[in-house]
Amino acid sequence: MGPESLIGEIRARLGPAVEGVADSFGDPVLVLRAADVRPALAVLRQPPFDYAVLLDLTCVDYAAGEGRFELVYHLFSLSRNVRLRLKASVPAGDPAVASLAGLWKNAEWLEREVFDMFGVRFEGHPYPRRLLTYEGFEGHPLRKSYPWRLEQPRLPLRDRD
């Protein structure tokens, strides 16, 4: 199955969950409806598509211009040796999407990281807690609205002697 026909088949199977298809520097990209992320990825995980590996999950902040966060999923199918990128947009006001916990085991940590860095809520996540920053950290550092150099010390800092 060639890459085009594979994308065509995925579109046919997922139906209205796919909002669009794009090509980015030679890689296929599927744009998903945010409400359908979990069922769509559950389908892709199973044969015949067999995307058994959730390679990566991250987020991009377009809050300033377009008022949305874009979640970016990378899947990898070992049997076909192809990667697939999926995107879904959530509104910047209350960003939330269904969790993938239970489908892939690394989803739990990946989603905790995105929650920590961007403040995207993952509904149904078993353990929504910050991963990289600490308890008491205010805000979400990778949002464009968070100042690059705003430190939040946990200890009172000394003056240099």
């Binding site: 990378h74 085991k105 690394n106 940590w109 990289l132």
Partner: protein
């Protein structure tokens, strides 16, 4: 939010809670493992990472495409050159650049040197934590051999920023062949010694065989790649599956394990080092001798700068091939000619007005490298697995978003499952064999 961790909430009242790390001799790097214990038996575990979260991704959004290269060195600091390579190749995919053959071969050399030193460091630390201190000393010795070769070429031992967008920074230094051959010979000898010390050592086998085992399905579900995935028997290697550079022309095997336990992860790494040494020898044979530099008078740099104040300098300027830059005669074999994505030649910048202007234009805000709009993902095989960069460009001089797919993030995510139900002592070899690297996992 409940400030208590999940482990604290779920723990039985009778069990003992124990904290390992973040500053613990076996937690090389900084990571905290919370354990719920029944005597020595681990009932439940929870890992906390982020102690080395240095804001890599946020910082990159505020640096130009060229300047953020130095931050990639410090991601997986055991094999910095592979991270350079991953970033540079992602950018090349975005910019549509073709890299000269010689630069590609040099990149393979540097990747494989880094891979061996990565595996050496991982196994050295793992062996030391299991009490095999001799192995640690031997392997560090071998790493010095390899770093000497890197230093001769790149001018620095670890954080070299040697692989640049569009090529490499400088040519190999005269005499590199002998140096590399000696390093490979020395490393082979060390690997043989280490094999003799560990392969059938009953203490080592007792602490690794059958411990920390994972099934293929779970390994895939956790997103494992690299030696950890191969230890379960899945021969997935980015160099074979999605060949880049000249790997499709080189002969090497992908060693796999069987059970996915600690011993298999050790053994896969050992055999992979053999393959990397084999690749080093093959690649070295493919690199042609550098063409001799044109004859004629040679000016020392300060002499040339003095002369250029009065008139345009004539003749060639001698530059150290590694530290200050590369002679511009060498550049065609090392940098892509397509577009100026590399620093203009130093000789021109110091002695001619045009050179100085192009130098300024390269580094000025808003100038320099300007990739087209869009997003791109590219990955290379790092020491721990698939090192992927996901980059979003809005067409400006700095990234809109840059994300690293860290291979050991996924490996360490499985640690809780690997040690559940085992003894405290099993945490050490299991953690060691996953090769957790703080800079990569926490970014």
């Amino acid at each position: 939010m409940d400030p208590r961790t999940r482990l604290e909430r779920q723990a039985r009242p009778a069990s003992l809670l124990l904290n390992m790390g973040p500053s613990h001799p076996a937690m090389h790097g900084t990571m905290r493992i919370m354990l719920e214990l029944d005597a020595e038996r681990i009932l439940n575990a929870e890992c906390e990472i982020g102690y080395l979260h240095r804001g890599f991704e946020k910082t990159c959004e505020n640096k130009t495409w060229f300047n953020l290269l130095i931050y990639t060195d410090r991601l997986n600091y055991v094999s910095p050159l592979i991270n350079n390579l991953g970033y540079a190749m992602t950018m090349e995919k975005m910019l549509g650049l073709a890299v000269p053959e010689r630069a590609q071969l040099i990149r393979v050399l540097m990747s494989e040197l880094s891979r061996v030193s990565d595996h050496l460091t991982c196994l050295a630390a793992m062996a030391m934590e299991n009490g095999a201190f001799t192995v640690f000393l031997y392997m560090m010795k071998a790493r010095e051999f390899l770093w000497d070769v890197i230093e001769q070429t790149a001018g620095a031992r670890m954080t070299t920023s040697y692989i640049r967008i569009g090529g490499v920074r400088a040519d190999l230094r005269p005499g590199w062949r002998e140096a590399l051959a000696a390093a490979v010979r020395g490393t082979r000898a060390v690997l043989k010694d280490v094999s003799g010390l560990l392969d059938r050592n009953s203490i080592f086998i007792g602490r690794t065989r059958g411990i920390g085992a994972i099934s293929r399905e779970d390994a895939l579900s956790y997103g494992w790649t690299g030696p950890c995935l191969r230890s379960t028997g899945i021969a997935y290697d980015v160099r074979k599956a999605h060949p880049y550079l000249v790997y499709d022309r080189l002969a090497f095997d992908v060693p796999v394990g069987e059970h996915g336990d600690n011993y298999d992860r050790y053994s896969v790494r050992m055999r992979e080092m053999e393959q990397s040494l084999r690749l080093l020898e093959q690649t070295a044979a493919l690199v042609p001798e550098a063409a001799p530099l044109p004859a004629g008078p040679v000016l020392e740099p300060d002499e040339a700068i003095r002369a250029s104040r009065r008139r345009r300098a004539s003749g060639r300027i001698r530059l150290s091939p590694n530290l200050e830059g590369s002679e511009k005669e060498r550049q065609p074999g090392l940098m892509t000619p397509d577009r100026p994505v590399g620093v203009p030649p130093k000789e021109d910048a110091y002695t001619t007005m045009e050179g100085l202007i192009s130098h300024f234009l390269f580094f000025m805000n808003g100038k320099g490298i300007r990739p087209p709009k869009g997003d791109v993902y590219f990955s290379v095989e790092g020491g721990n697995g698939e090192v992927g960069f996901y980059i979003v460009s809005d067409g400006s001089d700095r990234p809109y978003r840059l994300h690293l797919r860290a291979p050991c993030f996924h490996a360490v995510a499985a640690l809780e499952q690997l040690i559940r139900g085992r003894l405290i002592a099993d945490v050490i070899p299991t953690f060691g064999s996953l090769n957790m690297i703080g800079g990569e996992i926490d970014r």
